[in-house]
């Protein structure tokens, strides 16, 4: 690995180009950035490392003028500065290459580079060509100016964006998750390009959630976690440590225990032995075709025995939702087989799978989980509409429904003004209880939970987790999909890690599971 190659820049006597001082940014319901300090210096690749939701995107949103901090301040060249718009950011010399390409696909490379000139002007194509030639030769890249952007590879499009930032005399280049869509070769090329950029005295901020890249490309690494900066490794320290030591230190920062947290992981009791029992859920070589906006799944295999909780860990958007939907029957399967209690179900409909005992608690509680405008009572029986005893000959049996709904509301502690209240008016925690009551009702054998505590407050989170544990204790098989590693560690018997639509490893939830799962999540072998 090209660790530290070429980072000969001396750390002395370098003023920050941009400094963040206790910057805080809130969105409704969450603190996206919490009291963050950061210093960005010329000649340095500053890596911002963190999982999805760690606050990386918000941070660069503020640097590129898309958002403004609620508290704290941003200094540019030592002077407090408001970065009010993207135009303003560009004028300050801050260029950003966003995670999602910011090029117009229907225009050529040249036209995209010319975008942003005064509107009355005729684009100065010759002048552009000369400047582009100068920059590309110094960076060692080649680009065809007359090519349409939609015909370029993603790596080439990225080079166009970097080139655009250079054309605008950027002193600071922000690369947001720039490797996420690149091939391994493209990633190496980008790494080399970054080295040449800092060699020319630019500052580069490189955002990633992949640890390997951080270590390979970074001069300085800042680790973000849940909106907070949990650590920074300065260049001197990076140079003095070996690769393994750095990785160990970062894994500790990213996944380490958080002291006296009420949610703190307590490993589940492993007294129950599942070894003897036959699996309740068996999945073999499950595959789902890729779609335009969702990754596919390939050769997913696992089984869950009665009473067991299998966790699925991974960074959001790696196929978790596709897996849950494929199992529940909401998404077409391209291959493989699924057995529930020795019945093959992969060809059955959603309703038939439910009948057999497979239940799915969606993470989209208000979207696909409930009908917000329907009363709580009806929402308990959404999946039994038309079935006896709640409906007879197509007519709703109000008495039956209300009686059973009242019983379920009591049992699952649903706090609602009345059973007639539209479910959309309840809090997230109470909506989740309605879903739990509905899905865990009679006949359940296998339950899939997709992000069951996402967006819930602490009390409801703990209650939901207890409910899941109780479910397993009743002898059901539980598949728990979550992006919250702490949650998985506190609940599961085994944890499988999903990445790019495939299971990259399964770990028994024993003492060193945290490190192993963490390493799998960031693309290292356990």
């Amino acid at each position: 690995m090209a660790l530290m190659s070429g980072s000969a820049s001396s750390p002395v006597d370098k003023r920050d180009i941009v400094t963040l001082e206790s910057v805080t940014k809130r969105f409704p319901g969450i603190v996206a950035n919490d009291d963050i300090d950061l210093s960005i210096r010329p000649g340095e690749v500053h890596v911002l490392l963190g999982e999805n939701g760690a606050g990386k995107s918000t941070l660069i949103g503020m640097l590129s003028g898309l958002q403004q901090p609620d508290e704290g301040r941003i200094l540019v060249d030592g002077k407090p500065t408001q970065i009010t718009s993207p135009r303003n950011a560009l004028a300050l010399g801050i260029g950003t290459v966003f995670q999602h390409m910011m090029l117009v696909p229907t225009l050529t490379v040249a036209e995209n580079l010319l975008l942003g000139g005064p509107w009355w002007q005729t684009p100065k194509t010759e002048e552009l060509a000369a400047r582009v030639a100068e920059i590309t030769s110094s960076l060692g890249i080649t680009l065809k100016l007359s090519a349409k952007v939609s015909e370029l590879s993603l790596g080439e499009q990225q080079q166009v964006e970097i080139l655009r930032a250079m054309l605008r005399n950027s002193r600071l280049l922000i690369l947001d998750e720039s490797t996420s869509m690149l091939t391994p070769k493209g990633i190496d090329e980008l790494g080399a390009l970054m080295r040449r950029l800092v060699g020319q005295g630019l500052a580069v901020v490189f955002i990633t959630h992949k640890l390997k890249e951080a270590v390979a490309f970074g001069d300085r690494i800042s680790v973000l976690k849940l909106g907070k900066k949990v650590g920074e490794i300065p260049p001197e320290r990076l140079r003095s440590l070996g690769e393994q030591e750095i990785i160990a230190e970062i894994v500790e920062l990213m996944f380490g225990t958080q002291g006296a947290d009420p949610e703190a992981a307590t490993h589940p009791d492993h007294t129950a032995s599942f070894a003897g029992a036959a699996p309740l859920l068996q999945v073999k070589d499950l595959a789902v075709a890729q779609t335009e906006n969702a990754p596919g799944l390939s050769s997913i295999s696992f089984d869950i025995r009665p009473g067991e909780i299998l966790g699925i860990a991974g960074i959001d958007g790696n196929g978790q939702k596709q897996l849950a939907e494929a199992l529940a029957g909401q998404r077409a399967v391209a291959g493989g087989s699924i057995w529930v209690d020795r019945t093959a179900i992969e060809t059955l409909s959603v309703g038939a799978r439910r009948e057999i005992g497979l239940r799915y608690l969606t993470d989209d509680r208000l979207g696909e989980g409930t009908v917000g405008t329907f009363p709580v009572s009806i929402n308990f029986f959404l999946k039994q509409v038309g079935a006896a005893p709640f409906w007879r000959n197509g007519v709703e049996q109000r008495g039956e429904i209300d009686a059973r709904a009242a019983q379920l509301a009591r049992e699952y502690d649903v706090r609602t003004p009345s059973l007639k209240t539209p479910v959309g008016r309840l809090s997230g925690g109470n909506i989740q209880k309605v879903l739990l009551a509905r899905e865990l009702a009679e006949g359940a054998k296998v339950v899939i939970f997709n992000k069951p505590t996402y967006g819930l407050d602490l009390a409801n989170t703990l209650a939901s987790r207890q409910r899941i544990r109780d479910t397993a204790a009743r002898g059901l098989a539980v598949l728990l999909i979550s992006t919250d590693l702490e949650e998985l560690l506190s609940m599961c018997d085994r944890i499988a890690v999903i990445a790019d639509g495939a299971l990259v490893g399964t770990v028994d939830n024993v003492d060193d599971a945290r490190t192993k799962v963490g390493r799998l999540m960031i693309g290292l072998a356990a």
């Binding site: 898309l66 993207p86 910011m102 696909p105 975008l115 942003g116 000139g117 005064p118 509107w119 005729t122």
Partner: protein
Amino acid sequence: MSGLFSDVFLSALLFGAITAAIPLLLAGLGEQMSEKAGVLNIGIEGMMLAGAYLGFVGAFYSGSLWLGFLTGIAGGVAVALIMALLCVRIGLNQIVIGIALTLGVEGLTALLHHFQFSRSYPRLPAADATVIPLLSNIPVIGPAFFKHHMIVYLAVALVFVMSYIYRRTQLGLNLQAAGDKPAALDVAGIDVMKTRTIAVLTTGALAGLGGAYLANVGAGLFIPFITNGAGFLGIVLAMLARGRPVWVLVGALVFGVCLSLTTAMQVAGINMPTDIIQMLPFLAVMAMLVLFGRRASLPAALGIPYERGAR
């Protein structure tokens, strides 16, 4: 039937086709600019009607057709201003606002007409034609194409101006980016709102001019609902033209011939119910949509209000 294919008849038919095509051309070019910038401008029918009414009023009271065109443009821009404010600035639904504007202007102009002109139904004198020397002497084609009001030649010239803007200017790039990927334009430091506002106001000006031509030159009077869907035909033309102004011209001429035929066939006394003859242009629309509609390519962000930083 001998009269149907005589030279006089043919040149009258073509003359009428041009007269009918010009409002469609102006509306289509205007709509094309809005759509390029990502605004589906359904209010264009209302903008045309406002232009027709104010254009007529201006020409009637001042006695100058050119002043009438200016007031027509002002009328179209006024309606476009509301559209720009509500749909571009505030980001309301473009379809709903467009329909509301059209209906509103229809009602308002009908009401104003009722108070002002419903007793007298005043007419404007026939517009002065600018006769192009030499070319106008060619049989059939000469009287059909080269004896029109000056504004007709200007409207055709506008096709090439638009082509130049889209292909060769910074404004053209900005407009296309605003429609295809507004976020890219924004991070390039150009105000998306401003770009789209310019587009919508230009649409208003062109639609207003088209309406004024329709009333002042085409009909010589104003009656309620005079545009009779010309703005909507403009939307169809813009969608079929795939961003190329020349195709708007071609489409406008095709519809112009159809519209002219409806008049000509009635005059010629063809034995067919007039209702069916009057359906002709709209059948042509459907035929064109069936033939070419599938190939219509629309900007990716068409109809979507832009909001910075929204994901």
